[in-house]
């Protein structure tokens, strides 16, 4: 018991990461069709019948593995109003046609206004430095589209509701860092989710002290509304956000 305490405390102090034992990425399964292509110089112990070959303990056979950020469902343990994010990437260097193969990172705060990978600051006292919720990466399809499953973001002091977006070309070169703003008004999703109806989903801040787009340090210069997405849906059905972002690729 004492040792467990000691080890647990020292892990926390040094910020170590634990590997969840969840993958069998290297398991090598040999099937009979594989064994049929051999040289035939074996000991003769193998069977010629059509059976699945033995599974061997995985060895050091590395396979190329995507970053753990690559996920479409970015909720992890976060709860809130259901939310689908659809982002179309278009290329201004090609008549604003769809850009396929672009890498899109997004991240946003949870219903209480907290980000993962942050904490212990005056902006966010809750320590979420070791968790990765509400962050994800997808690659655009032939329509330039990426889709994420999430929860409707909350808000925090001095900022309007927003989603961070970082767009890269296929080789990982940064093309654009931007943010997506939300429509406002009494019947808007932001007002509804943060209104009395959203309380049942855990949104308890209300709209008192909310920073609207016109007063927001990031969005106040967006005179044309180009950064404001289309948001449709309801509390019960969830909301769908659609936004087009133009980059020069």
């Amino acid at each position: 018991m004492e040792r467990k305490h000691f080890l647990k405390n020292s892990l926390t102090a040094l910020g170590l990461v634990t590997v969840a034992p969840l993958m069998n990425a290297c398991k090598k399964t040999v099937t009979s069709s594989d064994s049929g292509s051999g040289s035939g110089s074996g000991s003769g112990g193998g069977s010629s019948s059509c059976t699945v070959g033995p599974t061997e303990t995985a060895g050091p056979f590395p396979t190329i593995t995507p970053s753990s950020l690559v996920r479409s469902d970015i909720r992890l343990d976060r709860t809130g109003v259901a939310f689908t994010i659809k982002i179309y990437i278009k290329n201004t260097n090609n008549s604003c046609s769809a850009l396929s193969g672009a890498i899109v990172d997004i991240w946003h705060c949870d219903k209480d206004g907290y980000y993962s990978e942050y904490g212990g600051t005056s902006m966010q006292t809750v320590d979420y430095t070791a968790v990765h919720f509400l962050r994800g990466r997808q690659t655009t399809d032939s329509n330039g589209l990426v889709t994420f499953t999430s929860i409707f973001p909350g808000w925090y002091q001095s900022r309007a509701t927003h989603i961070h977006v970082h767009v890269y070309n296929a080789s990982g070169t940064s093309l654009l860092i931007t943010q997506i703003a939300f429509p406002e008004g009494s019947s808007s999703a932001v007002a509804t989710v943060n209104g009395s109806g959203g309380t049942a989903y855990g949104y308890t801040k209300g709209m008192t002290g909310y920073t609207y787009n016109a007063a927001d340090s990031v969005f106040s210069d967006d005179n044309t509304g180009a950064e404001i997405a289309a948001v449709t849906g309801s509390l019960t059905d969830g909301y769908v956000l659609t936004q087009t972002i133009n980059v020069a690729a």
């Binding site: 040792r3 000691f6 080890l7 020292s10 892990l11 040094l14 910020g15 170590l16 990461v17 634990t18 590997v19 969840a20 034992p21 969840l22 993958m23 990425a25 290297c26 995985a58 050091p60 590395p62 396979t63 190329i64 593995t65 995507p66 970053s67 753990s68 950020l69 890498i103 990172d105 990978e117 430095t129 990765h132 970082h166 890269y168 080789s171 990982g172 070169t173 940064s174 860092i177």
Partner: protein
Amino acid sequence: MTKGIIRFSFQKTISEQPVTLWDKYVFDATWMEYRMQAANFNQKTKDTLFTNILAHEPRAAQLHQMVSTAALGYIRQLEGIIPELLTVHGKALIPFKNFQFNIVQSDMIDSRQHKVDITFISEPLTLIDTFNHHFLIAIGDKSREWVDGKEILTELIPQSGALGIYSVQAADGYKPS
């Protein structure tokens, strides 16, 4: 009598001349992730070198964690065995669950600058003795078996500059019950 329960720390450095295929995959993935994530922190200065970005933007310390996301899948492929921490017979069999990932240096343009290290923390081991620059250990806490006079299977691990002791703890077999 055993000397107690220890956990090894074993540091593996991955740089521009990867030794194994695993090293190369980790190198390529983490350098790409560095180039992608560092772009979040150099918008004003256009610095590309990690230490320069960090000097101008303390928030860039997050890059250690952000870049580690690219290595995580490869670390899982190790299936809980510390690579290259070998017994005198050349076998890798020391278990780990925890690790720490650290960017030593990197650059968004020059891959030759990219260097990361991963420190693996072993699961508890019983340290029986040290001699001739070797650790004689048993995997797990075997202090009770020792007290009971049972045979304990051991491994002999050569000492090296990459190998340290992360923690020590009195063996359970010597604790007052």
